[in-house]
Amino acid sequence: MNHIKKIIQSVLIYIVLGFTVIISIFPIIWVVFSSFKTNAQILSSPFSLPTSLGFGAYQAVFKQTDFLMYTLNSLLIAAISTAISLVIYAMAAYVIARYDFKGKNLVYSLFVITLLVPSQCKAQPIFSLIIQLNLYDTKTALVLVYIAAGMAMSLFILKNTFMSIPKDFSEAAWMEGSGFLRTFFSINLPMAKSGMATAGILMFLGNWNEYFFAMLLTTSPACRTLPVALASFNETYSYNYTNMFAALTMAILPGILIYAFAQDQVTNSIVASGIKG
């Protein structure tokens, strides 16, 4: 009797877990498969497997749109904003973690409380600010906005990282006559690698995937990022489903690849972003 109960229990568990797996990847697999099917196949038999493995639709997307440019735009904007953020937030997190000074708690609280501000609610002030700075419809505008977006999270992760580095190393360096800058750059920063990686990957993924401000602050194709371009393909390819699915496949692939290579960092950063302060 107990035996049967156990079997039923594990069957139920696997039904729930199987359901979770299916809803998580089935839509994506369906998109990938559809990108190898013809329009007619997509319309008539949504569940059939592709009959041939042609990359025609992928070539067409590159030929008919500036897909490569949009990808490079996204890459450039995400990479630059992540790199700058890492530098400025590592500097701030370091002094907050390592030194006592007047106003420290106030400054840190102000920085971290920004996590509670939904970024969309600032849409109009930021829109006007970017116009005043003469940066409307530039990649620089997005870089600036994305740098700001990562503030609370990165400071939180990096502050904890610097706090976990023993003070002895800095003190030893100090005794040997190493100054403030050298103690930071050649002693503490190299030891904060793991935290930098976690914060960096989190920011890069966020910036790479960002849609709201990219849509709000740019109009010309020259500054268009991939998520915004994807939305515009909807009109370009309203009757060419194969190409649309090919574009979608290429757009989601990089995120999945980053995750595949840095699974632990991505997972850690999700947990850290929830715990906050």
């Binding site: 994506i28 400025i88 849409a123 109009q124 930021i126 006007s128 503030m151 995937n209 979608l248 947990v271």
Partner: protein, 293 residues
């Protein structure tokens, strides 16, 4: 001039190191929020200077059917997110905690929808719910040939279709709760087992109460995501049909496009305030400031 002591020198460096971060804060947080708060009480089109109108924007806002519908939707979505969505995430966490065969695979795969852009996810769901060739209708047609509902564009289905784009994707909840579960000292479970407690009893009376903090955080995260949900609406239903799936970010963007900045910022303020109220209420409800051990 006296030379600076080491301590004073440090103090200079400290503020040098903080300056870029401070500037970012002032420019992209403090100034925008002050602008937001002030101009929400004004009539402003961006070109002329803002004219103070008191609560007029708010009164107008709460009288439009779009905004009323957006608030009702937010309330419904928040309740669904805070109950069913969090429940599903906690359930998966409890199952994965026991490390059944393939737990690592499930955890990995569950995360995938979270690493791709919401814009792409919205597009994918546009096709899932498509009336002619979408997967959902495809599945239903196996049982009932000729079935056709255009889920995202027909009332009352659109609201549920938008809900389904996030309902089960609770990996953040799962990871948060798993973190707390893994931190429970094993002796607690052993002691309970020696006393003859069943697994279900341990889950209910030991594990779940000790995950109070992470479940509270999960509720806040899940509902916050509903407040700022944008792509999965603007790239699918655009608030329609009628205003069935209207929400505040959509109203805000439309107001910016119409150069009604005061009005846009009043809706931004409402978003901000709802977020703060949520945080305070959930913090109290889950007694999150108290230590669990």
């Amino acid at each position: 001039m006296r030379s600076l002591t080491a301590k004073q020198k440090n103090l200079i460096w400290i503020w040098v190191f903080l300056t870029p971060c401070l500037l970012t804060f002032l420019l992209f947080y403090l100034a925008p929020i002050l602008t937001l708060a002030y101009t929400s009480f004004t009539d402003w089109d961006g070109a002329n200077s803002p004219a103070f109108t008191g609560l007029a924007n708010y009164i107008y806002l709460f009288h439009t059917s779009d905004f009323q519908r957006a608030l009702i939707n937010l309330l419904l979505w928040s309740v669904i997110a805070g109950t069913f969505h969090v429940f599903f995430g906690v359930l998966i966490a409890l199952l994965l905690y026991k490390k059944p065969h393939g737990w690592k695979f499930v955890e990995t795969v569950f995360m995938i929808p979270n690493v791709i852009s919401m814009a792409a996810w919205a597009m994918i769901y546009r096709f899932v719910f498509n009336g002619s060739y979408g997967i959902l209708n495809g599945i239903i047609r196996i049982f009932s040939p000729g079935f056709s509902v255009n889920w995202l564009f027909e009332s009352p289905y659109a609201f549920f279709a938008v809900t389904l784009t996030w309902l089960f994707y609770a990996v953040v909840v799962t990871l948060l709760v798993l973190g707390d579960l893994k931190a429970i000292p094993p002796d607690l479970h052993e002691a309970a087992r020696i006393d003859g407690a069943s697994e279900w009893y341990i889950t209910r009376k030991i594990n779940l109460p000790l995950c109070r903090n992470s479940i509270g955080t999960a509720v806040i995260c899940s509902i916050s995501a509903r407040i700022s949900m944008y792509e999965t609406i603007s790239l699918t239903t655009r608030g329609g049909p009628g205003n069935d799936t209207m929400n505040i970010p959509l109203i805000l963007v439309n107001a910016i496009n119409d150069s009604k900045y005061g009005y846009a910022n009043a809706s931004g303020m409402v978003m901000l305030l709802i977020g703060i109220v949520l945080l305070v209420v959930v913090n109290k409800a889950f007694r999150m400031n108290e230590s669990v051990y």
